[in-house]
Amino acid sequence: MVNPGYRNFKGEDWVDPTPPPSNLPHVDEIGSTSAPLKSASFFIGSLCQEYNEDFMLCKNENRDPQHCLLEGRKVTRCAIDVLQKIESKCLDEFRNHWRCLDEKNQEFGRCRVPERAYNECLFRAFGWKKVVPDSPANKPQIHERTPLTK
């Protein structure tokens, strides 16, 4: 097939010159671009927290790529799982939210209206709540505040 953007270079002729060793287990890569990932970021962060922290601590010991392959595979699979769950139940709200983010320089504060519908859909489907980590407990979450002006 012809990859988009590479009209004159057919994808079948591309060969990886330095393939990974064949004894490693296969892992799929995440195929979503920046806006959907940013939209799902808080949920990936809260659901995959153990795997992400394992990976970061492992990288802290040793930056060599070979050292943290196992933890990296777990991180990728967890994120793919979260994205698949979101798309199975809340596809339209998810798409509305990341399309809005894409037009507004990927800033959360400018897309609160689609975000509200998206969070409600995810809460109804899975019981997930978006929580900003390390936010003060005595104040409402920033995405749940009622705006001062219309």
Partner: protein
Amino acid sequence: MPVPFESFIPFGVITGMFLATATGIRYAQTKRNEGKAVRYSLDDWDRKMMVRDKQLTGTMRGQVDNPIAPPEFKVNSSWKVYESLRNDFA
């Protein structure tokens, strides 16, 4: 004697030049960003994510939301492809 209309022509020309500049800039930016607004305040993270977006969709502003990447994604990174196809122009 009332103000002669000829004296307003240069002001009209100046205003027209401003409008032409604005139209040209807006057209160029919209064309370059596929109809979306320009992305500003980009840091290294955003630039590298845009390079990754180009690997997945072919353009810097294209967006898709598949959970699993197509098999070409493993080989079309600019580090694996030769210099003339390097796609890190962010």
